[in-house]
Amino acid sequence: MSTAGLHFLDKSRIVAPPTWSRWLIPPAALSVHLAIGQAYAWSVFKPPLESSLDLSGTASALPFQIAIVMLGLSAAFGGTTVERKGPRWAMFVSMTCFSSGFLLASLGMFLEQYWLVVFGYGFVGGIGLGIGYISPVSTLIKWFPDRPGMATGIAIMGFGGGALIASPWSAQMLESFGTDTGGVAQTFLVHGVVYAVFMSFGVLLVRVPAPDWRPAGWTPADVAARPLVTTANVSANSAIRTPQFWCLWVVLCMNVTAGIGILEKAAPMITSFFADTSTPVAASAAAGFVALLSLCNMLGRITWSSTSDIIGRKNIYRVYLGFGALLYLTIALSKDASKPLFIVCAMLILSFYGGGFATIPAYLKDLFGTFQVGAIHGRLLTAWSLAGVLGPLIINGVADAQEEAGKTGPALYTLSMYIMICLLAIGFIANELVRPVNSKYHEPPESVREQETVQPTTSAAGKGDGQ
């Protein structure tokens, strides 16, 4: 960082002293992920935007859609800069963009200029989402080389949890300030300020371990003995030339497509499935079903990701994709025979969806090493962008076509279930094709050491407390 006043963001200024506890890093990561996870609660703002600015449903969704596109793009293209500049710089950029996005959106509402809302929240805020999403990944993996799945699972669970916090909080604020342009503007303003303060804590708290730091009692040989886990390192530019990267890209894309489809149509799906039975599902119960799936999505992130540290990454994706396909088959075959069976299957599918997101950074670390794992993860997230379009497109397209054909109940979704099974099977095959990365892609150790070496401000070498 060349700007004198911003030296505190330098990677060299945040090398942890030997006594620093690594358990301070997950809350630092969570303070960013819980904030940016707000994006999935954008739907709370749609009705007031539509009524106050006379917008269509499509127009009111635009800030969210652009934000998600920008998330993918900034994660993909900003990854190597994030690796070079370090997590504090990345979290600061994320905080600045995300909060500024809300402030610009607030100004847009005060001036009744919707383009400013779209630009602020969507474009500027979206950059904050992408940089923030990848900012703690590589740092967490370096602090928890013995439990990378659990560490990244905590952070990525936070992204799921962010919407759970923002949704009721934003709704209550709109109730207080009102749903006219002034009320929405004030709500955006408070969001921008509160999220800036909340994320700043993570910016100040985050530290990187010294290059030779290891958890007490742990050596790299402990994990290197496991299949597919390497102690070598691959750069982000080399990683995208390997078949392993594209296998994992397909795995993530298929897993997310299958989960997002059911998540997006959860309420109408459960209502339609049991409409012709003796116990139809009321609207309030359908809302409860959606909330239950969100809970499973969140808990799956930490539970399955931590489990992958024990049973291995390839095995856990066999469960997500193989068992996930069987669950879809169970729903398709049982139709409206059993509501509890439908609910349990959907819960597991959504937990696998969350688990797929949370486990992928650890899978990348196993295959490509820790050197530029954040940047590689950023590039892999383009699979999420495609899946975000593909999943809803399949479920909605098939349901609409079946409805036009005069079908009702489970028949609206049965074909979609079989399509999802095929997609999961493709993902399963891609996972089976994953092999250790050819050594020709490995970076020379001295080059990695040179690029990773930072000058600590305190004596930072040695073993940490490992607590």
């Binding site: 969570l30 819980l34 916090i165 708290l205 119960a285 909330a291 609910i343």
Partner: protein, 42 residues
């Protein structure tokens, strides 16, 4: 200051850090559980 003392100094920071993220999370979780109960009572 010994390493043990420095480690002990981090305990209040750890408590504050986890409360900082834990309290909003608990609020979100509470609101979510309230909605989930509608599935069984709605």
């Amino acid at each position: 200051m010994t390493k043990e003392q420095e480690r002990a100094d981090h305990i209040p920071l750890k408590v504050v850090a986890w409360l900082w993220v834990g309290l909003p999370f608990a609020y979100g979780g509470y609101e979510l559980i309230r909605k989930v109960t509608q599935l069984f009572t709605g």
